[in-house]
């Protein structure tokens, strides 16, 4: 079943609220990762991995902690606003679904042959869709595991889902690693295709919703 959304509704590819939330999130992620690395250094999970002072936020342990428990409010509140916006406006449904398995293999094949088509900013390929959904899942899990790390006694029911305290730390750490991995790809491609970076600043081309057929009109 295919329906068409209300016509003559034109807007930018990235509406202003979305752009604001994107850049607030960028700052929050920067604070959380830098300060998280500082906290990690005081009791490393991997014996060989110690983050150099040059890339951590906070001079001493308490400063890393202060930044982390400051940044968490920005990350969580902004993240809730972003997810609410994406779901209620239908943006996630339009941009990230459906995911075609055939397209996924085709895109991976192209990428391996260095055919990185990124000409149409208004359409995400299957790999992009999976990466964006994946990083959102990592973002949600890092908050849940963070909550369990912060309050393993008050939220002992939540903490026990993970197993013991050290397991929660490992989950939190792996979510961070996934987000850092995403950022490496995300930032490289944004620099590789500068107009995608520009679009997140000025909003990008005008698009109209009616060009996008909806596969599921039932709410």
């Amino acid at each position: 079943m295919t329906a068409v959304k209300s016509t003559d509704h034109e807007h930018r590819l990235h509406p202003l609220p979305l752009r604001v939330m994107h850049w607030i999130n960028a700052i929050a992620i920067f604070i959380m990762i830098g300060s998280g690395w500082k906290i990690y250094n005081d009791d490393v999970i991997l014996g060989w991995l110690h983050f150099p002072d040059a890339v951590v936020i906070g001079k001493w342990a308490q400063h890393g902690l202060q930044w982390h428990f400051f940044g968490m409010w920005i990350f969580v509140l902004n993240g809730i606003a972003y997810l609410t916006y994406g779901i209620t406006t239908g943006r996630f449904r339009r941009k990230l679904f459906p995911i075609s398995i055939r397209e996924l293999f085709a895109t991976v094949g192209d990428a391996l042959r260095f055919k990185l088509a990124h000409d149409d900013l208004t359409h995400y390929n299957a790999v992009q869709k999976i990466l964006y959904l994946g990083v959102m899942a990592a973002g949600i899990l890092i908050v849940i595991s963070g909550l369990a790390l912060w309050k393993p006694v008050q939220f002992s029911e939540l903490a026990s889902l993970f197993g013991n305290f050290q397991t929660i730390r490992v989950v939190h750490f792996l979510c961070m690693s996934a987000i850092v991995g995403f950022l490496l790809v995300h930032i490289s491609l944004a620099l590789f295709v500068p107009k995608s970076l520009l679009a997140m600043i000025n909003g990008g081309p005008s698009v109209s919703d009616d060009t996008v057929p909806e596969t599921n009109p039932v709410h």
Binding site: I39, Y40, D42, D43, I45, L46, G47, I57, G58, K59, W60, A61, Q62, H63, L65, Q66, W67, F69, F70, W73, W150, K151, P152, V153, Q154, S156, S160, F165, Q166, R169, V170
Partner: protein, 262 residues
């Protein structure tokens, strides 16, 4: 806080044999002193070069500490008064306990239990000091709980001693006061909110794994509560004050979160 080997799935279970430390104590001391000196010189050079660290900047510290104080209030709201922390079996207890303080284990100044007295101050009716023998004569409560350090490591410990709520009632403390403040033999200070002081798993520990506390772990008496990070559990307590006045503590003065609830 001292770095201690951590139980991790990526690391061997058994910790390093500590005997070699005492055998080579003078050598270890020498190395530490040299490193501290070198660190001080390079840190000084760095701050000369960069001017300042953004975190150390007064205005940044003001913002971060305001948020930390806000987080204290959030944590007090989240605190569940009668919710018990997970407990463990005696076979899971880590022996001996892990040492941690802002100085090395060999710098611990042992307390003479025969002359030690616990002083009481503030909103307490009966301020008669207590001897160790009098404390030992009180009913004992045992808790086997996790000690979680702000650094991220943890271990299971078996602690026993009088319940703090019972003790406060016994000495006629004002249980509606806001804070219980601990003054320690080593210039350490800590304070906890009254709700935590009255929690069923908050005790004045005098024993670990059934034996009197060893000197490095707070002999003759320390605080153990299941709902706070390690550093809130004051060791070598020499005075307890019940008060409505908030005062910064050893670590909170340096920027660590005061409530430090888990």
């Amino acid at each position: 806080m001292l770095r201690t080997p951590t139980p991790s799935i990526f690391r061997p279970r058994k910790s390093v044999d500590q005997r070699v430390l005492s055998q080579k104590r003078s050598l270890v001391h020498d190395i530490n002193r040299r490193n501290v000196l070198r660190g001080a010189i390079s840190l000084g050079a760095l701050s000369l070069l960069t001017g300042c660290d953004v975190t150390e900047d007064d205005s940044v510290q003001k913002v971060l500490r305001t948020v930390s104080a806000w987080n204290d209030r959030v944590q007090a709201t989240l605190f569940r008064r009668n919710h018990l922390a997970p407990t463990y079996s005696a076979s899971q207890v880590f022996k001996p306990a892990r040492f941690n303080a802002y100085y090395d284990i060999e710098d611990v100044k042992p307390i003479d239990g025969a002359t030690w007295k616990l002083e009481l101050a503030g909103l307490v009716k009966n301020k008669q000091p207590w001897t160790a023998q009098q404390i030992y004569a009180l009913p004992e409560q045992e808790i086997i709980i996790k000690h979680i350090c702000v650094e991220g490591w943890d271990y299971i410990g078996q602690w026993s001693g009088p319940n703090l709520r019972d003790f406060l009632q016994r000495v006629g403390a004002d249980l509606t006061a806001k804070y219980v403040y601990f003054i320690c033999n080593d210039d350490y200070t800590e304070s906890i909110d009254m709700a935590t002081a009255l929690h069923p798993q908050t005790i004045l520990a005098t024993k670990y794994a059934g034996d009197h506390l060893a000197d490095p772990f707070g002999y003759p008496m320390r605080l153990r509560t299941s709902t706070k990070l390690g550093y809130k559990n004051a060791k070598w307590i020499k005075a307890i004050e019940v008060t409505n006045d908030f005062r910064e503590t050893f670590w909170s003065k340096q920027g660590f979160n005061w409530f430090a609830g888990i």
